[in-house]
Amino acid sequence: METLIAAAQLVLEPYTLMVILACALFGLFIGAVPGLSATMATAMLVPITFYMDPVPAVGAIVTMSAMAIFASDIPAALVRIPGTAASAAYVDDLHQLTLKGKPGIALGLCVVTSAIGGVFGTAVLMIAAPQLAEVSLNFTSFEYFWLALLGLSAAVMLGSGTLVKSVMALCLGLLVASVGLDTSSGYPRFTYGQQDFLSGVPFIPALIGFFAVPEVIRAIVHRDNTVSARSISKVSELFEGMGKILWKFRFNVARGSVVGTLVGILPGAGSDIASWISYAISKRFSKHPERYGKGYEEGLVDSGAANNSALSGAYVPAMVFGIPGDSITAIVIGVLYVKGLNPGPMVFINNAVEVNAIFLVFMLANLLMVPLGILAILMAAPVLRVSKTALAPLILCFAIVGSFSIELSTTAITVMMVVGVFAYLMEENGIPVAPAVLGLVMGTLVERNLITSLIKADNNPLAFFERPIAGGLGVVTLALWFTPLLVALYRRYRRPRVAA
C-alpha cells in the first residue's frame, strides 16, 4: 500500500502528467495518420525520453502506444485505411458502418472497448506480474535459458510471414546480437577494431533503423494521395445506442479482453495478432458469421478490446523476464535497462515504487483514452489530410538526431541508416523484421544463460533437465520444435495406406 501511494505521487507530479498528456496527443496523431505505426513512434520517442526520469520515460511510451492503437481505428472507419496493423482485422466492418451512416457509433464503440480492454489488460499486468516475479525469483540460468528459447520459438511461429522467412530474420538478429565483447570471456567478436562496437551494435539506433527508416523510404517510394474524409461534429453521435450494443455484446468485450491479454503475454505476438485471433474466434462462435465484414458490430467489439489489452499483456513477460511480448516492449526493455530498471524479478523488489508507478500510468492512459479519443475523433478530418510524404523528412531528421544523441557518436547514425535500408529490403521481400528485432534483443539473454548454465554444469547437457521447472520448459520447447516435423512424418507415412 505504501508503495502504491509513493507510486501515485510519482505519477501525479506535474512534469510526469505533462509528459503523459503530450504523448497521448502524439499517439493519437500517429495512430490517426495511416501508415505510421505505434512501433515506429515508440522508436522515435526513445531519444526524447533518454534524459527523463524512469517513470515519465516509460509512461510516455505506454501512453503513446495505447492512444495510437485506438486512434488507428479512426482512418479505418472514415477512409477504410487502418492507421496501424492492429485495426486491419475489422477495417471492413468499421467502414461499412460509416457507409451506412453510422460512423459515430462505430468509433464510439472503438474508443469504449479499447479503454475497457486496456484497463482489463492492465489489471492482469498489475496482479500477475508481481506473482510471476515471486515465482521466478527461484529461477536460475537454466530456467532462463529455456524460457528465452521458448520465447524466441513462439515469436517465430506466431509472427506474420512464412516460417522459413521468420527463422531467417531471427538468425540475422541473433548474428547481429553476437557483435561485441562476448559476455562470458570478454573476447571482442566481429568488432573489426572498432571501439564503438565493443559493447555491441548500438541497440536504440538499430531499432530506430528497423522501424522508422523503412516507413520513410516507403512514404517516398509509394506516394499516396491524401484523402478527404467525412467529419463527425457532435459528441452525442458517438454514444447513440451505445449502452444497448455494449450490453448485447458484453460477453464479447470480456472474451476480447481475455484473448487479447493472453496473446499479448505470448512473446512476439502483439496487438495486431491479438486483433486477428480475437476476430476469428468471435466469427467462429457468432450466431451471425455471415454478417462479419459487412458492418456488424460483434467482431468489432471483440477485436477492439483485444488489441488494447494485448498492449498491456505484453509487459508481463517484458518486466518479469526481460522477454518482450511484442515489438513495442522489445524497445521498452532497452529503455528499462538504460533507466536502471533492469527487467527481471529483482525489479519488483529493488524498484517497486517505479514499477507500480508504471502500472498506474497504464491505468491513467486507458482512462484518458475516452475523453482524448473523443477529441481525436472530432478533429479527425484535418489530420487525415496530412501528407505522409511531407512527414517523411521530419521523421528522418528525428531518426538521425535521436540516434546521435544516444551514443554521441556518428557510428550510431551509420548503424541506423544501414539497418534501416536493410529492414526496408527485408520487408519488401516479405521477410518480417519483428523476429530480427527479437533476436537482437534476446540474443545475449539466450547466450549468456546458455554459457552460464554450461559453466555451472561443467558442460553436462543433462543438467538442463535436472531442475523440475527447467526440465518442464525444456520439454515444452523441444515439443514445439519437433511436433510439426513429427506430424509431417506421420502424414507422409499414412498417405500411401489411405491411397491404397
Binding site: S141, L181, T183, G186, Q195, L198, S199, K339, G344, I451
Partner: protein
C-alpha cells in the same frame, strides 16, 4: 585522429609553457565543465556523478553537464577523459576498472593518464551465501572450499575479471588456495549473480553491500565477511575478512574524480576544493546515505597513491586468475 591528437597535445603544452598557465588558472572556470561518466545512465556511478555535478554548478558558478560515454567495459569513457584537453573543462569519473583493463590488454591506458582530483567513494566487496545456507561464518565456507574438488564450488557476482570476480580470486590467492578451485560463473553485474544465488544456482557470491541490500532485506541472502580494513558503517555487525580469518585482504569498487594528465596544479586545487565542499553538502550526504554508498574524500596526491596501490593489487590478482595478457 592521431595527428590531431599530437597537434592538440603540442598546442596545449605550448600554451602552458608560454604565459597562458597563470591566466587560465585565475579565470578558471569561465565556461561549462563537462563531466564524463564511463558507465551508463541510471547506474550507481552515473547517479553519484550527477549529484556531484549538480552541486558543483553551485560551487563554481558554471554549468556542469554530465555526458555518459559508455562501452568497451569502461575503456571508451576513460579514454575520453584522458584524451581531452587538460584545461580543466573536461573532468570525469574514474573507477576501479582503470587499474585492471590495461593488464587485460583492452587498452594501454592506466592511472598515469589522469590528474587525480579526489576519491569520493569506495564500497568494499563482501561475501554472501543463501540465508538457509549451512555456512554460519566465513571460516566454515573456507574450510569447505579447501576440502572440495576443483570446480565443485561455483561463485558469481560479476563478469570475468570484474571487481567481484577479483575479490573472490584475490581471497583465494590470499588464503593460498588455488584460484581454479572455485568455478567462476560470469554474470552481467552483481544483481543477476545475487539473484542466481537466491535461486540456488551458485554457492556464494561477492558483491558490495548496496548491491546486495534488497535481497538482504528480503531475507534471502546473508553476508559472511567484508573485504575491508575496517567494518562498514552500513553493517557494523559484519566482521571484516581479516578479523575472521587473520589473513589481510581488502578489495572493492571505488569512484573518483579525475582530469586529463597535465592539468595546471592550481586548477586541480580549485576543483578539489570545490568538490571537497560538495561532498560535505547535506544534500549529497543524504543522497549517498539513502542509496547506501560509502562516503569519503581523499584529494589529489593521496588519491594518486590510492590509484597506484589499487593498480598493483589488480595486477597481482589478474595474474593469479590468468586474465592478464
Amino acid at each position: 585522429m592521431q595527428i590531431s591528437k599530437i597537434l592538440g597535445a603540442g598546442f596545449v603544452a605550448g600554451a602552458m609553457v608560454f604565459a597562458a598557465g597563470a591566466a587560465t588558472a585565475q579565470d578558471y572556470p569561465s565556461k561549462p565543465i563537462t563531466m564524463i561518466v564511463p558507465w551508463g545512465a541510471g547506474g550507481g556511478t552515473d547517479a553519484t556523478a550527477r549529484i556531484i555535478a549538480t552541486l558543483l554548478e553551485g560551487e563554481l558558478g558554471v554549468p556542469v553537464p554530465v555526458e555518459n560515454r559508455t562501452g568497451g567495459s569502461g575503456v571508451v569513457g576513460h579514454s575520453a577523459i584522458a584524451n581531452a584537453a587538460p584545461d580543466g573543462y573536461t573532468i570525469g569519473i574514474a573507477t576501479l576498472e582503470i587499474g585492471g583493463m590495461h593488464y587485460q590488454g583492452l587498452t594501454e591506458l592506466d592511472y598515469t593518464a589522469f590528474t587525480p582530483i579526489g576519491l569520493y567513494n569506495s564500497d568494499p566487496a563482501a561475501i554472501f551465501v543463501r540465508s538457509d545456507s549451512a555456512y554460519e561464518d566465513v571460516n566454515a565456507l573456507i574450510e569447505a572450499v579447501e576440502a572440495s574438488a576443483d570446480r565443485e564450488f561455483k561463485a558469481s557476482g560479476s563478469a570475468q575479471g570484474g571487481v567481484n570476480h577479483l575479490a573472490v580470486a584475490g581471497m583465494l590467492n590470499a588464503l593460498e588456495i588455488p584460484v581454479q578451485r572455485v568455478a567462476w560463473v560470469p554474470s552481467e553485474g552483481a544483481a543477476p549473480g545475487l539473484q542466481d544465488l537466491a535461486a540456488g544456482g551458485v554457492d556464494f557470491v561477492a558483491a558490495s553491500l548496496p548491491e546486495a541490500r534488497a535481497l538482504m532485506d528480503a531475507g534471502r541472502i546473508k553476508p559472511l565477511a567484508i573485504f575491508a580494513t575496517e567494518r562498514a558503517d552500513a553493517a557494523p555487525d559484519l566482521v571484516t575478512f581479516e578479523e575472521a580469518t587473520g589473513v589481510a585482504f581488502a578489495l572493492g569498487s571505488w569512484r573518483g574524480i579525475a582530469a586529463p594528465a597535465g592539468l595546471d596544479p592550481e586548477i586541480a586545487r580549485t576543483l578539489a576544493d570545490a568538490i571537497g565542499k560538495v561532498v560535505e553538502d547535506p544534500e549529497y550526504t543524504q543522497f549517498m546515505e539513502a542509496s547506501g554508498y560509502a562516503m569519503q574524500w581523499t584529494p589529489n596526491e593521496e588519491f594518486e597513491q590510492f590509484m597506484a596501490d589499487s593498480d598493483a593489487q589488480m595486477g597481482t590478482t589478474l595474474r593469479a586468475v590468468g586474465l592478464a595478457r
